[in-house]
């Protein structure tokens, strides 16, 4: 039967997923999912946060055993026991969450399990580094193989994850939201690589919440909704809107936000200089959404962390509502009314082993306390309000966040900051791994904040996001502000051009020469 | 005639003392109060009297290997004499090493079988155990359950226990219900004792064998106010022990004359170094050692009757 189908399609099926179900305490993550991927095909998986995409992929990589159903590899049923076994079968994955050891070098992380070695098991460093260089070149990365991964920006770390997956030159490559923390230009590189792999007959599962990407790279698109399979479509005979409809089961209208900026300067940075950035000066107005664009490692996060007092600034000054600020640590920043939503939710944003409610209340315990005595019921109440407001999917607010899907985790971090309600909120990759529906919700939330007079600095690597949400755009390059653009008259191309240094306006030229 | 000889010796001594002549005492658990207040105090006092440099070295924990390490490191600096606390038979080798290096070497407290040290001053732990046993037997008029507290795995205490057993052998009515390791730690000793009191209502007596057994047992007995009901014998006569005897909580103490170990030990070293008594033309050539080989300084027994004499 399957044979016939193959013939009909005229293509060989690499992996067949048949009636796979998987339940976790409290949730049915997958129920009776059937889909298959051809040899040399790019197969996109779409679905809301918590739809079960990652779970399905983790079954293919032996992280979980399915409760029901079976996997066919080249038409032969296989039981994938563990990660190592999956690697033997030629399945390799870029996990949604980081799986790097920061204490080790780029080379060691990329070739974790198959470093070149002699018969005594001694590693051949020279060879290892050569191989690493080659691999990094294919990804256009100018990083030395012996750099500690912990010293890299999150964007670069993501590229290392990709290199790691490629290093095993797999027959099946799974990319679980690979572009969540990298920028357009890296994405382009990634796509180039994918196309080449495709030619070599590698099958690629591609998970993303960015519809444009999916329609750029995928051959076929499958949709999951609450763990149920919604069908597979070839790119030609479907549309973004149809896919989204299947994902969220409701209409999403592209919102057009109009500026809420008043002409009252709330925050100003003068000649701010620190590790990874220098001479950064700018103003933000009340109710404005100011975007920072730039390539990976442009230094945007560093600027944000310096303003927030998380890292020291070596030089320069900042002022809030005209008054100069001396900020030594984040708690001072928060007291001064500045908030920062970090880009690395697992490492910097979340208390993974704690409940949703504890995470949401983390910054504002006194909101749930009377004379510094905590009322747990209050915490739950507050948490409940915000989980509803942001539509966080969870069995209860007492559930541990490490059991949540990536997107829902992101919403939990956001909730914490909404609760703190700062007058200047810096959001670093706020929709990092958030599904289209939720993304819209977050856009609305941010916009509502702006309307209510909160000033927002948006650091994002997603140009459409920047163009939808922001009022003004600062493009950073090599730790300096390359230019300032107005949302109305700019385009993605122009932003990219400045970010990558193709255009340089006179101001930056001066900076670059001296 | 003889008083001339005496003068001669006296003069010899005075003249011989040179400024960088140093006598070193090496012990383990160097900060252990009993050592500090008896052994080390007497040793220092001796040095002051003679106007001779004395040093005291050793690890602060009970760590025999470390004591050996210290001795080994000292040997290469050729001190005038070594006064070594005989903590464990395992130190025999390093003692011999010192002797072979031509350093006058005296061991105190417990003798070291197989050690070639020139002299030993101390008491027989077997004797300590025996005396305690007999005292306890008297206190119990020959019948009752008895428990043993001490540091397990230490030679001298093992000998002590043997003495205890042999003493009890004569009294079939006495039964040892168990040996307990209080790790020379007051809380442990108190802990074990009060558990014993709580769980063996018929317990008649407790024998403590390390310096902390007494105070620990005493504490538990007081808190269970079983003073006098359960008889206690222990070793050592530190202030806290004496206090407990005075309060009638400990009935019998067997103590050592530790001051004498080190005072005469040091004197022996000095006499060897200065050949104060040469018994031959050349004692070293003749293989003669001109100090006593073994000195038993004897024991002190303390109970209600004489405790007042010891309380300062």
């Amino acid at each position: 039967m399957r044979e016939e189908k193959n013939k009909r399609e005229g293509r060989k099926i690499k992996i067949g997923i048949e009636g796979i179900s998987k339940a976790f305490p409290g949730v049915k993550a997958l129920s009776d999912v059937n889909l298959d991927i051809y040899e040399g095909e790019v197969h996109a998986l779409c679905g809301e946060n918590g739809a079960g995409k990652s779970t399905l992929m983790k079954i293919l990589t032996g992280n979980y055993l399915p409760d029901q159903g079976r996997i066919l590899l080249n038409d032969k049923p296989v039981v994938i026991r563990n990660q190592a076994h999956a690697q033997e079968l030629g399945i390799s994955i870029v996990y949604q969450e980081r799986s790097l050891s920061g204490n080790l070098t780029v080379a060691e992380n990329i070739f974790t399990n198959q470093q070149p070695h002699n018969k005594w098991g001694f590693i051949n460093k020279k060879k290892l580094w050569e191989q690493t260089r080659l691999l990094l070149q294919t990804l256009d990365l100018a990083i030395e193989p012996n750099v500690k991964v912990a010293d890299l920006s999150s964007g670069l770390q993501q590229m290392i994850e990709i290199a790691k997956a490629l290093s095993r030159n797999p027959g099946i490559l799974i990319l679980d939201e690979p572009t969540a923390s990298i920028t357009e230009s890296e994405t382009m590189v990634l796509f180039k690589v994918i196309r080449e792999l495709q030619k070599k007959g590698t099958s690629v599962f591609y998970i993303s919440h960015r519809m444009e990407e999916i329609f750029q790279i995928a051959d076929r698109i499958s949709v999951l909704k609450d763990g149920c399979y919604q069908g597979t479509f070839t790119k030609q005979d479907t549309s973004i809107d149809e896919i989204i409809r299947l994902m969220v089961r409701r209409e999403l209208k592209q919102a057009r936000f109009l500026s809420q900026a008043k002409d009252e300067v709330v925050f100003e940075a003068r000649e701010l200089t620190g590790k990874g950035f220098s001479d950064v000066s700018f103003q933000v107005f009340r109710g404005e959404i100011l975007a920072f664009a730039g390539l990976v490692g442009a230094g945007r996060t560093e600027v944000a962390r310096a303003i927030f007092g998380a890292d020291p600034a070596f030089f320069g000054s900042i002022s809030m509502n005209g008054k100069d600020l001396k900020i030594g640590n984040p708690s001072q920043a928060i007291r001064a009314g500045i908030g920062y939503l970090p880009e690395e939710r697992k490492e910097q944003g979340l208390f993974m082993n704690m409940s949703i409610e504890s995470n949401i209340i983390a910054g504002t315990l006194d909101a749930a306390a009377v004379r510094s005595w905590i009322h747990n019921s209050k915490i739950s109440k507050i948490a409940q309000i915000y989980t509803n407001k942001l539509g966080i999917k969870s069995s209860t607010v007492k559930q541990k966040v490490n059991e949540l899907s990536g997107g829902n985790q992101q919403k939990v971090v956001l909730a914490k900051w909404l609760l703190l309600n700062p007058s200047l909120l810096i959001v670093d990759e706020p929709t990092h791994g958030v599904d289209v529906g939720a993304k819209m919700e977050i856009y609305h939330i941010l916009h509502e904040l702006a309307k209510a007079g909160t000033t927002i600095i948006l650091i994002s690597s997603e140009l459409p996001e920047i163009l939808t949400l922001s009022d003004r755009i600062l493009v950073m390059r090599n730790g300096r502000i390359a230019t300032e653009l107005n949302k109305r008259e700019t385009t993605e191309q122009e932003i990219l051009a400045y970010a990558s240094g193709i255009y340089q306006n006179t101001k930056t030229e001066k900076l670059l020469t001296n | 005639d003889r008083n001339r000889i005496v003068e001669k010796e006296a003069r010899q001594e005075e003249s011989a003392v040179n400024p960088d002549e140093e006598y070193i005492m090496v012990t383990t658990a160097v900060n252990f109060p009993m050592y500090v207040n008896h052994d080390q105090a007497a040793f220092k006092r001796w040095g002051k009297r003679r106007g001779i440099k004395t040093s005291i070295l050793g690890p602060s924990d009970w760590d025999v290997a470390a004591q050996i390490a210290v001795i080994e490191q000292i040997i290469s600096t050729k001190p005038a004499g070594l006064l070594i606390n005989g903590t464990d038979p395992g130190i025999a080798q390093v003692i011999n090493k010192a002797v072979d290096a031509g350093i006058p070497t005296v061991v105190y407290d417990s003798d070291i079988p197989g050690g070639k040290h020139h002299a030993f001053l101390g008491t027989d732990w077997y004797e300590i155990g025996k005396l305690q046993g007999e005292a306890m037997a008297k206190l119990l008029n020959g019948k009752g359950k008895v428990a043993y507290l001490g540091i397990l795995g230490m030679t001298n205490m093992e000998q002590g226990f043997k003495g205890l057993q042999d003493a009890f052998a004569k009294y079939p009515g006495i039964q040892i219900i168990g040996r307990y390791d209080d790790k020379a730690n007051v809380e442990e000793a108190a802990h074990i004792t009060s558990d014993l009191l709580g769980t063996h209502p018929d317990l008649a007596g407790i024998c403590g064998f390390d310096a902390m057994s007494g105070p620990g047992i005493g504490l538990a007995i007081r808190e269970a106010n079983k003073a006098g009901k359960v008889k206690v014998t222990a070793v050592d006569w530190e202030p806290e022990h004496l206090q407990l005897v005075k309060d009638g909580i400990i009935q019998h103490l067997v103590g050592q004359k530790r001051e004498l170990f080190t005072w005469y030990g040091a004197q022996f070293l000095f006499d060897m170094r200065h050949t104060v008594n040469s018994l031959s033309i050349d004692d070293i050539q003749a293989g003669v050692v001109a100090v006593p080989r073994k000195v038993d300084t004897g024991l002190i027994e303390i109970n209600q009757s004489n405790v007042a004499q010891f309380l300062k």
Partner: protein, 325 residues
């Protein structure tokens, strides 16, 4: 119910109760007597008070090896002031506690601010303070004034004061840690220090406070011990650090931080206390004591883990997974 069994406090209490029942049945007129139980509690009161502080430190993700030395030091200093300076109990005690607090401040400052590894810092401090303690109390200080000894020797409702003090300390800190804003923050610090900093929690300050608290409680324990003994001994508190940390971890804390409740600390010490008490009833003596205690410790934790195995895995599969390599 299943949910309930999941936290260590409950499972540990249950196993303690179970053991006690068995013991009471086996030795009906030895174990469950009032004397035995009150003695048992008295013995673990000192450790428990120290364990409370240690629990808070472990929740915040660090620990303190110098507690044993602080016990000796604080007791010694107080005794010194009472005996040689003829001070009144209260001022002597206060000065003693202040000194203990200072030690904690030093530990906390050097760990939190200068970033010295807690292991090295507190181990070094353990040596330093032990030296100081021995210097002060020399051969031990006896005959402490009765009006100081009442503090640790008086009884209330036929139970010794240290036991009451222990209960009060545990109660107060259990409430604080579970309900108070400041103390709640230690869970965040232990859970994810980076995130705690970015959430505006003043991590360094709180860490220092935790170390100070631990030292203060150790100091209190030392003073109690001295007044129980009516004497201060320079050697007291030896080896306490590991004993206490073990009890605390047994009580649900983890060296990586973020977990544990204060009652857990008490339960941990109680568990160990009960076991060693029973061993003496059972005539387990000599070398066997440590062996048996060790085995029981491992067994207790092992079973706890087996019962809290991930849902959906049968005990059979769980055990099979253990066996196959």
């Amino acid at each position: 119910m299943k949910r309930l069994l999941r936290d260590r406090e409950v499972s540990l209490s249950l196993s303690i109760v179970a053991i006690c029942i068995v013991a009471s049945v086996t030795w009906p007129n030895i174990f469950p007597t009032f004397d035995n139980i009150s003695q048992l509690l008295l013995n673990l009161s000192i450790d428990s008070i120290v364990a409370v502080g240690m629990m808070i430190l472990l929740i915040s993700g660090s620990f303190d090896l110098s507690v044993g030395s602080v016990v000796a030091f604080c007791g010694g200093l107080t005794a010194y002031l009472l005996y040689y300076q003829g001070m009144f109990p209260l001022p002597a005690i206060l000065i003693g506690l202040a000194a203990a607090g200072l030690v904690g401040l030093l530990n906390g400052y050097l760990v939190a601010k200068a970033g010295i590894n807690p292991m090295i810092q507190t181990l070094a401090m353990m040596g330093i303070i032990r030296g100081a303690a021995l210097m002060i109390s020399g051969s031990g200080i006896q005959n402490l004034p009765p009006d100081f000894n009442v503090f640790g020797q008086s009884k209330f409702l036929a139970i010794q004061s240290p036991v009451w003090i222990m209960f009060v300390v545990v109660l107060i800190f259990h409430l604080l840690v579970s309900r108070n804003i400041m103390f709640r923050k230690y869970y965040y610090i232990g859970g994810n220090e980076k995130a705690a900093v970015l959430s505006g929690i003043n991590v360094k300050k709180l860490k220092i406070i935790a170390f100070v608290l631990t030292s203060l409680l150790a100091g209190l324990a030392g003073i109690l011990l001295a007044s129980r003994l009516g004497a201060a001994l320079g050697t007291s508190g030896r080896g306490m650090e590991l004993r206490v940390i073990t009890a605390v971890i047994l009580g649900g804390a983890s060296l990586s931080g973020g977990e544990g409740k204060v009652v857990g600390a008490l339960l941990g010490t109680v568990f160990i206390g009960v076991v060693s008490n029973i061993m003496i009833i059972a005539r387990v003596s000599g070398y066997w004591q440590d062996i048996v205690l060790g085995i029981i410790l491992i067994a207790a934790v092992g079973m706890d883990i087996a019962f809290n195995r991930p849902a959906g895995i049968s005990l059979k599969t769980y055990l099979r997974n253990l066996t196959i390599s």
